[in-house]
Symmetry: C2
Subunit: 376 residues, 2 copies
């Protein structure tokens, strides 16, 4: 692989508006829907090199490179670019913000055309499948009939699975990282505590806060908790251990914060500047409800009519989406007669491994896409 690796990748966020919207899983027709997306690389003549990146819970369309004049690299910049796993010299890479999100795509903070005011809690409950319906509209809009791959980690993995079983003819492969076909009771419980923290903040005001102070403390607490579940006991031990950030003379004072406490406070505080509390509620609910085996009767039945080829990767220390959940999917895919590659990668970084431990993951994905592209 060659490439201008020194040259930073530049992308301009774009918006497309679908005036007729989508029909949601709840049966409700919802319109209009605006989608924020970014692309890298070029679509080939055969329109066969499209790769849709689907983001995790707190992600956005800015997956790689920089905005013109910007300094913030995309959230998966280590994976997307010339010569990288998602090689932008070979593939046309697309990433859009999800329905219900807060980074440009229509969500609870968007203006309801009927009232001119933000939806708040009048925004409809959306599912992972609803997010994917909107992405399908975007892909159609871009003139792509069949994607080479849909790839993502965590909630992104759920979307990739959903693409595979809902639009099997529209994708050649799905790449599912650190994900699951359904959250465990423990995963649901963590989400519920986060939502409770937000909804108990008086500033949340039943979701109606867009013209005043947002529920920043509640959202920060939800994020702090989320962060613990994205890391691992081991990685937190390596990074923070029992180090004190500040220590008074004798050390027994509530002002004595452990380093891990300061870190979480910092992460919580940063998050409220970029994320909407209502989106937190809607997107975690979508993850909690997500269960493709329920919709199709069984996991095997879901995959039986799904796309032909899968790459599934899990990480040893990921206790939020543990490897046993990936294996469950892999067995069902195999029983359904699909072509499946599976890797359980050793990593101490917990659920966040798919964002951090990219070396072996990148190699595996690059090889998988290359062979799929050559066969296509």
């Amino acid at each position: 692989m060659s490439g201008n690796r020194e040259q930073p990748l530049i992308s301009v966020p774009q918006d497309v508006r679908f005036d007729d919207g989508v029909t949601l899983d709840s049966g409700r027709a919802f319109a209009p829907v605006t989608v924020r997306y970014e692309t890298w690389g070029s679509l080939n003549r055969a329109r066969s090199n499209g790769v849709l990146i689907v983001h995790a819970f707190s992600g956005d369309a800015h997956a790689a490179g920089y905005h013109p004049g910007g300094t913030l690299a995309g959230w998966w910049d280590n994976m997307i670019g010339p010569g990288k796993a998602f090689d932008t010299e070979r593939y046309f890479v697309i990433c859009s913000n999800v329905l219900g999100g807060c980074q440009g795509t229509t969500g609870p903070g968007s203006a309801d055309p009927a009232t001119g005011r933000p939806y708040g809690l009048s925004f409809p409950v959306v599912t992972v499948n609803d997010m994917v319906k909107v992405q399908k509209r975007l892909i159609d809009h871009l003139g792509i009939q069949r994607l080479l791959s849909v790839a993502g980690g965590s909630m992104g993995g759920m979307q990739a699975l959903e693409w595979a079983v809902t639009y099997p003819d529209s994708i050649a492969t799905a790449v599912v990282l650190a994900s699951t076909s359904r959250l465990s009771a423990q995963g649901i419980a963590f989400d519920a505590v986060g939502r409770n923290a937000i909804m108990s903040d008086p500033l949340w005001n039943s979701g109606d806060y867009y013209d005043r102070q947002p529920p920043a403390r509640g959202l920060a607490i939800a994020r702090m908790l989320g962060h613990i579940t994205y890391l691992s006991d081991e990685s937190m031990g390596m990074k923070f251990g029992r180090k004190l950030q500040e220590r008074s003379q004798f050390g027994f004072d509530f002002a004595d914060q452990f380093a891990v406490e300061s870190y979480l406070e910092h992460q919580g505080g940063k998050f409220v500047d970029r994320f909407d509390a209502n989106s937190y509620i809607y997107l975690t609910k979508a993850m909690d409800y997500y269960d493709i085996s329920e919709r199709f009767g069984s996991l095997q039945a879901a995959f039986a009519q799904g796309a032909p080829r899968y790459l599934v990767i899990s990480f040893t220390s990921d206790w939020l989406y543990p490897p046993y959940q990936s294996k469950e999917m892999v067995f069902a895919m195999m029983k359904a007669g699909k072509d499946v590659s599976y890797a359980e990668l050793a990593s101490p970084y917990g659920h966040d491994s798919f964002l951090l431990e990219t070396e072996r993951q990148a190699e595996i994905i690059a090889g998988f896409l290359e062979s799929a592209y050559e066969e296509a």
Copy 2:
């Protein structure tokens, strides 16, 4: 073992007040201190059969039996009683509420004699060692020079360890269940999120809420989170799975609560009726600061001058106080030349196993105490 197993064990809570109080680890002289305690069985002539039960974070002095006319069994009633692991026909069993608690022993909700008002945040920061100093006063008061054993799980295990290294001549054995010599960064992080939930509740009012509505939502959220960490992915899966408690027609509505959400809400709500939010803050801080290796230079050095004999039990699915932390203690005890029995029990119930999985635990403890008693 014989015994009136049909006859319910009755205990009357008692209070003793130490007007001269204790000198805290912070250097502050703190007085007076009232201790709430209960006892079961009788002290023998040699005063050699005393067993002190030390409770976990949210426990209290009511460890066994019933109060006269009461219907609430003690929190360890399956372990304490005639013919049970802590056999009240053989041992004189004592349990007291900890310093900083809210169930009768002096804590942040107690009246400060200097002002006549509850301490609130003017209550001093206390350590696990401070709790143990107060228990030592109680044991002296009861006329016991040397306890046969100090036994407890979780924060109770910390106290048992603390007894062993601080008053090695005053105890023959320590029983340390589902515990640790120091919390991991992950454990500290969970505690920090719980405290943040309480302190972000406007009703917390910097700890000054005793004459008005308490910060019930914040405390409930902290408890919900705590509960997740006391259980395990497996036990939550067995107990709740993805069952919905309520389901609207199509199922995509925020009113659709998963059973696990309803359970946590219920647990959170129940907790606020019996627990004080400030005690939550003080006691979790005490656990976070607890680190006997830091105080003595190393774990081995701590145990070198500690009590002679230990029983340590951990549980396979306990991810809050994982077995590796118990093993770390056990190795240090062995290196320090102590007599150590260790069992890692297979159990799906997570950290709560020491309260729930009592059959094998009871057998092991009964045998351990019996041999210690016979040798004494």
